[in-house]
């Protein structure tokens, strides 16, 4: 190599090095990250997404403690046992409940029944799971804590997910051998913890005899705009925008009237941002809710319970529910993006 070219390369490298040094910030984040939520020290940006598997993808028995935090700081603790046979059958049983102050107790029959009826949704949609790696990579900046941590006796890697849209960050602890999420924590936009789950036992060779597998309490059918509206009794609107990074919709029709005559059939759209699940559901509106023509401003109610925001109201003539662990005004964007077909 000619000496001039060699000197040119040396100068370029020196300048690049100086630029890199001067670009470093005290919080060790890259400039492409969201500065509002700095992860802790000892974390590095992830170059390649980790392999993550769903908890129902292999035979397993797990015990975990799920905690949700209300706005007033009070907590609800659920001690649950999960089984999966790896072929799609799952079961989630409630063993104890607690408030984080007193010792856990056995659930009352009505609490147990509520939990039993919801077990499929709790296992599949409440629990964080990387359902769409591309979306999860697009909507969150992934950081990895160097070193290995142990959850329920399994070697895990801790990841911090910084939300691009500011809907709240998350932490995941992923089993280095199986790719299962063994613990997770979900934060609100102010970095206050709203939900977390931590496995206390993991058995990859479970004895599944005697397990009663969960069955859906409400029959569902895939939604077909050409044929389903007659069954639903109304015409659902279509979602034209996925809100803060949500996509990959799965549209189903819940035939609630077959089980609960007082509850009208429902159109359910399940959206994900790669990590969280949000429900956008529609029903034929109740008679009292019909809005007079010319009324321009809509009114929707919302509540937050156990880290979950719930929004409901009349949107473009249909009764709409938006539910998910994101702020209510972000749910409103989803509701406002419903358009008549």
């Amino acid at each position: 190599m000619r000496p001039e070219i060699s000197r040119l390369w040396t100068s370029t490298l020196v300048l690049l090095g100086l630029t890199a040094i001067t670009s470093c910030r005290p919080d060790s984040l890259s400039y492409s990250s969201d500065t509002s939520t700095a992860p802790g020290s000892g974390m590095v940006a992830v170059d390649e997404m980790p392999m993550v598997n769903g908890i129902s993808s292999l035979p397993i028995r797990m015990e975990w403690e799920f905690t949700s935090t209300e706005a007033d700081g009070s907590e609800e603790h659920l001690f649950e046992t999960f089984h999966a046979d790896g072929t799609g059958n799952i079961a989630l049983d409630l063993t104890l409940t607690g408030d984080g102050v007193s010792a856990p107790i056995a659930p009352t029959p009505d609490i147990d029944l509520l939990h039993h009826n919801r077990q499929i949704y709790l296992a599949l949609y409440r629990n964080l799971s990387v359902t769409d790696p591309l979306l999860a990579e697009a909507n969150y900046i992934w950081f990895e804590t160097l070193g290995t941590q142990t959850i329920a006796g399994q070697p895990c890697t801790e990841f911090y997910l910084d939300s691009h849209f500011g809907v709240g960050d998350a932490k995941l602890w992923i089993d280095q051998n199986t790719g299962l999420i063994l613990a997770w924590t979900l934060y609100d936009p102010a970095d206050v913890e709203i939900q977390n789950l931590q496995a206390t036992l993991v058995d990859y060779q479970p004895n599944l005899s005697g397990v009663t597998w969960a069955v859906p309490q409400v029959p569902s059918q895939p939604y077909d705009p050409k044929t389903s509206n007659r069954t639903l009794g109304f015409k659902p609107h279509r979602q034209v925008y996925g809100g803060p990074g949500f996509d990959s919709e799965v549209q189903t029709m819940l035939i609630t009237q077959s089980q609960f005559p007082g509850v009208k059939n429902m159109h359910l759209n399940m959206l994900t941002d790669g990590l969280r699940t949000v429900f956008v559901a529609q029903q034929r509106p109740p008679e009292w809710a019909l809005q007079p023509k010319g009324f321009r401003m809509g009114t929707v109610s919302f509540a937050r319970v156990g880290g979950v925001s719930v929004l409901e109201g009349l949107v473009a003539g249909n009764w709409v529910f938006c539910v998910g662990s994101i702020p209510a005004d972000d749910l409103l964007v989803l509701a406002n993006s419903l358009r008549r077909r």
């Binding site: 492409s32 949700s68 949609y125 409440r126 979950v308 719930v310």
Partner: protein, 163 residues
Amino acid sequence: MTHQPENDRLSKELEEAFRSLANVSAPPELADRVRLSHLGSEKAPAELWDRVEMAAFGKVEAPEGLWEKVLPEVKRQSWTTRVFRFPRRLAAAAAIMLAVGIGYGLSPWAQPQQDMRMAEYAALKEEALSQYVLIEVEPNELSSSAATMAGSLGGSLKPGGLK
């Protein structure tokens, strides 16, 4: 005009001389010379002469010591425009970095695209908030369908929390 046939006849020697030239063609510059003679004498522009003269002159070396003699006069008459010293190789390195920086700035991974997504979303949120009035209610004031869906995503099971 009268016709004089004796003038048309060529002498025998001349005729033989012309016949011996049968396979000979005129040189190419002959046409140029004839054309020039028709033009008469035209004066060439001054700079043309300078250029031809320079080309004809070829390269010559200035006498030794000439540059040293004229340098003080050149310095006296010229402006000093150099602001600071910057080695040429450093300038080249900076140019490479600038090109890389511009390339990154235009790439799809650059931050501005992310900023655009955020700005677009902020506008949509503003629009949604301008269309609806959000009223916060107690969890037990939600409809049973809303409460059931909230419970399915981890809403509280406490009595009095959700139905």
